[in-house]
Subunit: 250 residues, 2 copies
């Protein structure tokens, strides 16, 4: 990923952006818990169970299916792909996780991670010991509520791509989703890098790589976007959003 075209928030420069957060500005929890009305002392309690890990490099695994589950993690920088391998040896991409997003929630039920997580580029994480976090949640209603919300939200999100949408709709939904999630983290929603290869996008959307290629080409021909290798520019956001609407809005 090129810092010039995909400006990366630097955790170090953000570490002192006020008097509320001293440990991790890009963690989903810290921001979300603040909005839940948690005070500073509560955040300090949360602080003690946070562990900054990384960097991981492209291809490094954060965890593998079957590893004992002990922690969830928030992505601080980079992109994480989660996937499983079925018994025929075929890969199934479950999702891509951008900065600010949480991975490992689907492991809470069970002692082991149910999937693999691999870094697509240089990745930094905040690890939260889940047992400790659950204990803390019993004392902090705001944290408990936040955890419930994160879990509940993921249930709905997982079902989004399950519908029988066309290739165009899937692709549009993927791009609009990516754009919105990047925007929420301060990146440009109009111009960004696809950090994953076409095969991963295709696999995630349940399409053939050739179809991904063709749809992107057609979108470009229609003037909806401009794509060059992994660099992507959204030209007609409204038009793309219109296509994606039934998928995202349900």
């Amino acid at each position: 990923m090129n810092p010039a075209t995909f400006p990366r928030l630097d955790p170090r420069t953000l570490a002192d952006d006020g008097d509320t957060l001293h440990f991790c500005s890009t963690c989903a929890f810290s921001q979300a818990c603040l909005s839940e009305g948690m005070d500073k002392s509560a955040l300090m309690d949360l602080h003690v169970l946070v562990e900054h890990v990384g960097p991981y490099h492209a291809g490094d695994h954060l965890f593998r299916e079957g590893d004992p589950f002990d922690a969830i993690a928030a992505v601080r920088a980079g992109t994480v792909k989660t996937y499983v391998i079925d018994r025929e040896g075929r890969e199934h991409v479950l999702g891509f996780h951008l900065p600010g997003e949480v991975i490992g929630l689907n492991a809470i039920d069970g002692e082991h991670y149910p999937c693999n997580a691999v870094a697509l580029d240089t990745v930094m994480l905040c690890r939260f010991s889940f047992p400790k976090m659950a204990m803390l949640a019993a004392r902090l209603p705001g944290l408990q509520r936040q955890l419930f919300r994160l879990l509940s939200r993921d249930i709905g999100r997982a079902a989004l791509l399950a519908g029988d949408w066309t290739a165009d709709q899937r692709m549009a939904a993927f791009l609009i989703g990516l754009s919105g999630r990047l925007a929420a983290r301060g990146f440009s929603p109009h111009r960004f890098q696809l950090t994953m290869p076409r095969t991963d996008i295709a696999n995630y959307l349940r399409l053939a790589p050739e179809t991904v290629s063709r749809v992107l080409k057609r979108f470009q021909a229609e003037g909806v976007l401009r794509v060059d290798r992994r660099e992507l520019e959204v030209l007609q956001h409204a038009q793309l959003a219109e296509l994606a609407a039934p998928v995202l809005r349900r």
Copy 2:
């Protein structure tokens, strides 16, 4: 649903099946919390926020999209269908909920139910006020853990049918899933009623109703099952499970 062919567990006769459960033997929470090591006094605490409601009759709505969210519910008897209507007016079936299963978990994030829930036959429920339950969960680690697990499990479950499986695999996975869930509740896994019309099955599996009809017919011709109207008998469970394996096992 015919009681003669689909024997219904009677909550009344089960109400005194030991000294552990006096309020609701068929609730998912009571059983699960027991296995979490919760003691009797803890269960009594849970008791006070349980409300038995019903019966609802076929076609009655338990809640509708947009209704204010205040409670989750465990199905005690009958079948519940959850669905949404997209803005083109098309229905999307999200799932079927059998006795012992919990509905409303995807509503925790947000103030309103994100979908509709309708009774497919005569339905009895246990309602749990969610705010009260969350408060109680802060005092009872076992209950908190149980809630986390239920939520986490649903994340994985929602993603199951998202793959690009064939009509045969989807149908097999649906039937095997149904069979197993019924068995877990003490019903026969070999012979049961499809409580929902073909159109709902088709919609849930993202197939055309005609395809459902044809697949069932072919399964019968192959001797895998016997189907007569809504009555269904699984003849070659292993064969069906083999077909469903990649879908269910991931």
